[in-house]
Subunit: 241 residues, 4 copies
Amino acid sequence: MTIAAADIFSALKASCAADWDAYVHHRFVRDMAAGTLPEEAFRWYLAQDYLFLIHFSRAWALAAVKAERLDEMRHAVATVNALIGHEMQLHVEYCAGWGLDEDTMAALPEAAANIAYTRYVLDRGHSGDLLDLLVALAPCVIGYAEIGAWMARPEHAAGWQGNPYRPWMEMYSGAEYQQVAADVQALIARVAARRIGADPQGSGRWPSLAATFAAATRLEVGFWEMACHPEPLSPPPAAAT
Amino acid sequence: MTIAAADIFSALKASCAADWDAYVHHRFVRDMAAGTLPEEAFRWYLAQDYLFLIHFSRAWALAAVKAERLDEMRHAVATVNALIGHEMQLHVEYCAGWGLDEDTMAALPEAAANIAYTRYVLDRGHSGDLLDLLVALAPCVIGYAEIGAWMARPEHAAGWQGNPYRPWMEMYSGAEYQQVAADVQALIARVAARRIGADPQGSGRWPSLAATFAAATRLEVGFWEMACHPEPLSPPPAAAT
Amino acid sequence: MTIAAADIFSALKASCAADWDAYVHHRFVRDMAAGTLPEEAFRWYLAQDYLFLIHFSRAWALAAVKAERLDEMRHAVATVNALIGHEMQLHVEYCAGWGLDEDTMAALPEAAANIAYTRYVLDRGHSGDLLDLLVALAPCVIGYAEIGAWMARPEHAAGWQGNPYRPWMEMYSGAEYQQVAADVQALIARVAARRIGADPQGSGRWPSLAATFAAATRLEVGFWEMACHPEPLSPPPAAAT
Amino acid sequence: MTIAAADIFSALKASCAADWDAYVHHRFVRDMAAGTLPEEAFRWYLAQDYLFLIHFSRAWALAAVKAERLDEMRHAVATVNALIGHEMQLHVEYCAGWGLDEDTMAALPEAAANIAYTRYVLDRGHSGDLLDLLVALAPCVIGYAEIGAWMARPEHAAGWQGNPYRPWMEMYSGAEYQQVAADVQALIARVAARRIGADPQGSGRWPSLAATFAAATRLEVGFWEMACHPEPLSPPPAAAT
């Protein structure tokens, strides 16, 4: 008997319910769905997301390094290949439409909130095993699917009219991305089943896994916060007087 | 012929002069030297610094893993042993004087600025070689020595009178810590000499090393900023409405 | 001005000429070209090579983790994707023709010579930077291309007649594999140019890089030796009396 | 309720009983106890063991990087400090008595059996979590304690008379080393309790942990084999004709 993926993620989300809610229903998300998000916030997010994708791909490559079964390795490799060979290109094309060219984004300093999230995930991968790494990656993959699905609810239909962020909303609410996220959840559930058995919450690792999931979720919140109030990358001149 | 350690660090600091100045002369530092820093800011800093020390020690342990010569390895091991076996204990005792007990600090969530810095250093270590790691560690070690020396200047003597932060200032301006920092500088200079030769700035790796040093310096600034304006570890309830 | 890839590899091979010769002209190689290699040796080699490919793919995934430029990362990701998604399948089909099914190979204990090589490469990756890792990977990629080209020389034409190892010889002497190896050489030359400049042998890292290349070459020799005289995976019962 | 350390190790050893027996009762061990081991075998072992200690220390440093609790980290750091700062010096002094000076040993190429073992352990650490790493380290630590205790049995008393290997036998059978090994067993038991609970063999990770322990044990056997029949570090000239 294996655990349904949904059960593990329900438990992980429940273990940090307020943080999860702050992430998937963040003002940034709600304003995007309503079409009222300032363009500057969105452009900042897009540019930092370009840098995020690079380190997120590195984290999936690390999953391939750490995989102990060929099927786990294949899934990780297919994911990093899709990210680097396909998604990245889509992102660059999309950003071009917002006046952001690739060289500009590549030269941009990473915001601290961006560094905090991706390096935290990589460190969980280096200090823990494949399961620790995947649990740290999970809030991004499944949170965006949840955000997409939430945006697609009938009660938010009005917001889609003439919404400048509609292509983004279509992508994450679309069947293709929803399937990607479901596949990742299934992968994590299989990896978890082999490492912590059929009763994840009863396992000695549960507190640590839940802490990883919660920390990564808070770092996602920090990423949205950064976009709403972009932090200065260096302090204002006055600070150094 | 080998390069004097001072030359490399002068070049690294010059390559990010504004960031370096913002770090070593940050308002937090100036207010501490003047004795006017709010106690709450200092207590927040102390508690986060406890968590910082744990991951900073992990980074030095990683230096021991990555060392390719026994003398490099011995220096890294001696450092991590001093940090974990000695400094940590001093820090805990000092914090107790400020009403912070170890269990409380160990249970505290790490602030994003804290995560960003330590995990950035660890990631530079995992993605690069020993030199990349040490250059990422350098702003902390040599910056604190510079801050200590700056505080000890005659023109700041007035601030030491009845200053509640005096033990901290004595430690970092003291001969023992100044020697530790000088030894680390010498280690990095030796490691650099073997990897990038006698003309560091002419080496193909210089732009990448300077970028690492600058990024770590900005993350130090972020750490002081956090202490001055502690970021919320989870967003205020209103944000999630 | 950048160095031609050939120059670096000529220098690396020259620095361990006897080991390189022992590897690319090993008895296993010569007997394969002559069609006189015992089938048992070849089957042993094929089965261990299946396990080798898994860890070799992990090493290329680690290259993606360690890459600092997007083009380097793309090359590493494309390689690991080709290895896991394509080569592995070809290998499994080819092995089936030799009576080796995938489950049997997956369950086989790795020979010590196999473990020594792949884990050495992974460790060079973890302790060093991308260049250290690629130099450790190089003897495999470029040695097999050299072996293929050597087998395709006119003076060895007689050996191809009715040679049971002909498909193997065709693959490694073929244009497709020769191009893969040339691309990897070009990648390593670019990575080297950015890290050790236009005069690799004059760089402080040269002794360490040459030592890595030589060690990996000797471990390739050990792999052929293992196939010629398969080591016992557990000692004979008498040893434990 | 926590598991007694002895229970886990009994189960791990039982899962690879023949390999374990081949390791702790290897001809090298029996001949040392009898004083009949050829000096050349012992000198070879000592020289390779010097190189082994360096990489074994790196593996313990990696344990400090991967530790998730301060007490686990302290134990790992104390171990690597003892190894590098103390044991290594004892080893060098002891080797000097056998005519092996440190520079000679440091310049010696590592034998393949040596590379295989240490790099396997490091790779288990990088691919798995702290428990995977410690289980890979365990056969060395507890096996040597078992060998020392076996040599100290009354029935082997005759062999101690005029035995040239007596200092080695005294060290590993002595109270100090036996305590070190007992402490490491207790550490592993605590780490295991937090990760796989009170019924290790019932955990989903058991097959993987047992496979790691067995593989490391076989690599220890390979190390003794190497000493009995030192493998050529490069093939004989004739092989390349």
